[in-house]
């Protein structure tokens, strides 16, 4: 498979994620399409593979996939917007994951999530316009005793209070290297 230059392949990249030049990745996308073309319901696996590869689904790539698979663009977009794990914007510099496991949920995780969507003005699965933050739902981080838990990049923040969200995010904005208060344990 051809090599492509992108920083978006993993969720823990250091650099802010830049948009990729869609033209340069078309050959790789075509390889993926060829791989699935004959399967029924090729669209979803193609979208998944491309997203895994690029970190997100640029619209130019989606129109290309639409033409190659002869599926109307509206339908491709319909599928992409239906599933929250697809994203059409590069993920932000910081990935925020809110745990909505049972313990976190009953102990205020939902309120924390609401506070985050309000503060960032994005929904789950989206990225802020300044590319600073992406908001996701996380799996259980194994810190249930200290619920609700929010993970920002590698930092685990416990007993997060909805009204303290602004402060928490401020520490990550603009990438100043101040103490972020999270415990350093890796989840």
């Amino acid at each position: 498979m051809a090599e492509i230059q992108t920083d978006c392949r993993t969720s823990t990249h250091a650099e802010p994620c830049r948009e990729i030049d869609p033209g340069s990745v078309i050959p790789v996308v075509d390889e993926i399409i060829t791989q699935y073309r004959s399967t029924r319901g090729a669209l979803i696996p193609v979208l998944q593979s491309v997203q895994n590869l690029l970190g997100y689904l640029p619209k130019e790539i989606l129109t290309h996939i639409s033409r190659e698979l002869s599926i109307p663009y509206s339908e491709v977009a319909g599928v992409v917007t239906f599933y929250s794990f697809f994203s059409t914007t590069p993920r932000g510099k910081h990935i925020i994951r809110v745990c909505l496991g049972t313990a976190c949920y009953v102990r205020g995780g939902k309120e924390v999530l609401q506070a985050l969507t309000r503060e960032l003005k994005i929904k789950v699965g989206q990225t802020t316009d300044d590319h600073q933050f992406s908001l996701e739902i996380g799996r259980c981080f194994g810190a249930c005793g200290l619920a609700p838990v929010v993970m920002i990049d590698e930092d685990v923040h416990q007993r997060v209070k909805p009204n303290a969200i602004g402060l928490l995010l401020a520490a990550y904005r603009d990438d100043d290297d101040q103490d972020r208060g999270g415990s350093d344990e890796k989840a």
């Binding site: 619209k59 989606l62 639409s66 599926i71 663009y73 509206s74 319909g78 239906f82």
Partner: protein, 591 residues
């Protein structure tokens, strides 16, 4: 055969019959919303639920086939309550401003709420975000009115093979529209308006030109003339509750005169002109290929009257654009002739002449706005009203349509032959062209009963025929014995099918007619709602009656068209014709 019982009455029904169809046959009306004749059921709305004895859940009648021994109740208390709940939930998310809604007179949701006696709305909650999309010249979308029945999706994808519309996002945030809920101008949409024709509510309607037409009519400095497409006269009556298939040409002319148009003309006139130009163009291509043996003569030639088809080809078949006749549509030929020939004749400045057309079509609004359509030096056609809009305008002006006396169109642009009438039907342009081409090449009228080429009529999606050219006159001897093989498709899904066939065998046909809408213009996206196949068939019959009722039935016998050539254009395909009546098409990027 299955024996079933519906509401205590037992009956027999075929294996593949749905409960809905079986009930309809017995005279039982089950309300429906998402269901559309001829397209696969989506089961999206659940308005049609019925109770089947022994089954736990209510079943959707539109998509459940009958089984032997089924005992069905269509209007039990449980069923009625379930339907009411469905409608109440729809209303709870619906921006219902019926008093000021375009659809208040023919809204299916309103009608359904009335039929089900929905007297209050128990669910009042948050309404979804709404968006008005007025980005295209033809269509106006209001997502606040959309009840997500997906009829438009089925029609745009299943019938038209365009796929501009699809459900976007999920749950409460779902909208029905182009990719990422953007505006229609950014989508591959051919503006055919079939979505607007099937939408049960006011969520997709045409961009109205009524206000502009009224202002023009009230402006003392403007001469306002009107042209009416062939398909209007067979459908306008439906706006006044006349039965489908009532021919109202005379009353339509009276109404237009009372509305204050300075002259009432006919798109039929330029339909005849189109046949002269397009027939000659076909003969030239045949000469190039068969006599001069030039390489790469673009055959088969495709018709060009349907602007939705033109866009479809610009998006999907750019390699065949050279095969499309360069003739403008009759609407645009009319505009170009009116603002040159007619304006000169009357000695009026074309800038003071306003050309209004009445069309069965929303795409004609788009076509009139195309930049190529300014060959008179002005916008050739200023405003386009759909049949529905003309109906509204007549109501608005207090004209009692039913009792109007018959009137006739004005000279010279109101004179036409029967060949022009049949432009309204799928297969009609082809038949009209063959009537004239046959005459030019043989000196005789088409040897067909009543001048009709039977295999080209009717609702079959793709139709074909051959006409043998015999005893040709000297100038066309090289066509002696040629079997002119022609094809017709209507509805863009059928067109796509025919295009596949042509791509596989480019030599099978010489001439191909394509209309965007099912049935041709009589089934256009601007016609009175709701159009079914039975209604299309009735309108088609009215059109054939109009043709057969004329003394002149071949375009080349139209005296006014001949006069236009004598006084102004010269001959078909002259340089003046080229400038005013022909155009070219460009490839468009799909998305």
């Amino acid at each position: 055969m299955h024996r079933i019982t519906i509401n205590g009455i037992s009956t027999e029904a075929d294996q593949n019959t749905t409960i809905l169809a079986a009930a309809t046959q017995m005279g039982i009306h089950i309300p429906t919303l998402c269901h559309l004749e001829g397209l696969s059921p989506t089961g999206a709305c659940r308005v049609c639920v019925v109770e089947i004895e022994g089954a736990g859940h209510l079943a959707a009648a539109c998509s459940t086939p009958v089984r032997d021994g089924m005992v069905i109740r269509t209007h039990s208390k449980r069923v009625r309550e379930a339907r009411t709940t469905v409608v109440e939930l729809l209303l709870s998310e619906h921006e219902g401003d019926c008093q000021t809604c375009q659809r208040s007179s023919d809204c299916e949701l309103r009608e359904l709420a009335r039929e089900l006696r929905v007297l209050e709305n128990r669910y009042t909650g948050e309404k979804p975000m709404t968006m008005i999309d007025a980005s295209t010249p033809a269509l106006y979308r209001d997502s606040g009115k959309c009840i997500k029945c997906r009829r438009c999706v089925e029609v745009c994808t299943g019938m038209q093979h365009v796929g501009a519309l699809f459900p976007q996002y999920r749950g409460f945030d779902t909208t029905i529209g182009p990719a990422f809920s953007s505006s229609l101008d950014l989508a591959v949409c051919v503006q055919c308006g079939q979505c607007a024709a099937v939408c049960p509510v006011g969520a997709i309607i045409e961009q109205s030109h009524i206000e502009q037409v009224l202002s023009a009519l009230e402006d003392p400095n403007k001469q306002v003339i009107v042209q009416t497409a062939p398909a209007i006269r067979a459908a306008l009556g439906e706006c006044f509750d006349l039965p489908p298939g009532t021919l109202v040409t005379g009353r339509m002319v009276s109404a237009l005169r009372r509305l204050g148009f300075d002259a009432v003309f006919d798109t039929n006139f330029t339909a005849d002109l189109t046949i002269m130009e397009e027939g000659t163009e076909l003969l030239m291509r045949l000469r190039d290929k068969l006599l001069l043996k030039l390489p790469q003569v673009p055959l088969p030639m495709f018709t060009s009257c349907s602007p939705g088809w033109i866009q479809f080809a610009e998006y999907y078949y750019p390699e065949l654009l050279a095969n499309i006749s360069t003739c403008k549509s009759p609407q645009q030929m009319f505009g170009a002739v009116a603002k040159t020939y007619y304006a000169q004749k009357l000695q009026i400045d074309p800038k003071d002449l306003v050309v209004v057309s009445i069309m069965p079509c929303t795409a004609k609004k788009y076509e009139a706005a195309r930049e190529e359509m300014h060959s008179s030096g002005y916008r050739d056609v200023d405003y386009v009203l759909t049949t529905r809009e003309l109906g509204d305008l007549i109501h608005l002006s207090g004209i009692d349509f039913i009792d109007l006396p018959d009137d006739t169109m004005d000279d010279p642009l109101g004179i036409s032959t029967g060949a022009a009438d049949i432009f309204a039907n799928s297969g009609g342009v082809m038949e009209a062209a063959l009537r004239t081409v046959y005459f030019i090449t043989t000196g005789r009228s088409l040897p067909a009963r009543d001048l009709h080429i039977e295999p080209l009529a009717g609702m079959e999606g793709v139709k074909t025929a051959t006409v043998l050219l015999q005893d040709t006159v000297d100038a066309w001897k090289f066509l002696e014995g040629v079997q002119a093989s022609v094809a017709v498709a209507h509805g863009l899904g059928n067109a796509a099918q025919l295009m596949d066939r042509i791509t596989a065998d480019p030599d099978e046909f010489l001439f191909v007619e394509i209309m965007s809408c099912p049935g041709g213009c009589i089934g256009g996206g601007g016609q009175p709602r709701f159009t079914t196949d039975a209604i299309r068939t009735a309108r088609m019959a009215a059109i054939f009656a109009a043709d057969e009722g004329k003394t002149l039935r071949e375009s080349h016998t139209n005296p006014a068209v001949m006069q236009l050539y004598d006084e102004f254009l010269g001959s078909p395909l002259s340089s003046k014709s080229h400038h005013l009546l022909h155009t070219q098409y460009r490839k468009k990027q799909q998305s």
